[in-house]
Symmetry: C2
Subunit: 164 residues, 2 copies
């Protein structure tokens, strides 16, 4: 990563790692995305990204296409220029939240299943831990609601400024 401040470089690594695990991305994809989040420029060319990440053409190609496919980034072109320019999609925060929502819903569902299974098959155990199970279920429900209202807020903000 030449030509980038030490600080930015470090933050790219840290943030990249985070994307990697939260969204299940390959390391390089995480770093590319992190770099873009932290960048001012509106469009990064394929070459830019090769240089910045010190990765091979093929790897960059693969990972850029992956990020596009997952709608983390998008590309645009300039007339009279064959290059593609990449930028983060405007709604990446909402995508993140929607992913979280899906994950929470899945877990909530599973917890309900487990609770009802234990209620039926292991009644003693269920009674003993009933309150805990309910607390946990309430927790998930509350997280879910918070997510939903946040997503609504973001959509409202988008409608206001049409720039989400």
């Amino acid at each position: 990563m030449q030509n980038i401040s030490e600080e930015k470089c470090k933050l790219v690594e840290e943030l990249g790692l985070n994307f990697e695990e939260k969204h299940n991305l390959p390391p390089l994809a995480g770093r590319i995305y992190a770099f873009m989040i932290l960048s001012n420029v509106e469009g990064h060319s394929f070459e830019d990204i090769i240089e910045i990440t010190c990765a091979s053409k093929s790897s960059v190609s693969t990972n850029l296409n992956l990020l596009v496919q997952l709608k983390f980034i998008e590309y645009f072109t300039k007339t009279g220029d064959r290059k593609r320019y990449f930028r983060t999609t405007k709604n990446y925060l909402r995508i993140t939240l929607e992913e979280y929502l899906e994950s929470i819903e899945k877990e909530l569902n599973l917890v309900k299943k487990v609770n009802s299974f234990n209620k039926e098959h292991n009644p003693e155990k269920f009674k003993k831990n009933k309150n805990l199970g309910i607390i946990f279920q309430d927790y998930l429900t509350s997280q879910k609601e918070n997510l939903e209202t946040t997503i609504q807020k973001m959509i409202a903000f988008k409608n206001e400024f049409d720039q989400l």
Copy 2:
């Protein structure tokens, strides 16, 4: 998985997969843990688990020890019996929540870092997305608070019944 109902078997797979990804456990560990969550019996022997999971001694050994080390499960012994008996720790739900809390705190920290980085280095971009950034930060803060109060509730419940 002999001697186990179809229903339980399916739920073990599903729940095991969930533990696998949420807690970063090897598949076998996830399944062992899931099986214990869904079980009435107070202690499962090493042999039981081999039979139930259809895995090798060595794999079961490794994964049981892993689960013990991570405090998902614990073991006890019976006098005049060399075997070890395994059961879920009473506070597994709290452990789960505390893991989530740690993860949220890490992410919140990162988001703050990113926001302040962009505020300083990419002021235009920051202004444009300021509200979104704040909404997201608020969301994380709220999730964190919800987690904290839930953990408190669980601790209160534990104190009341001393069975967490």
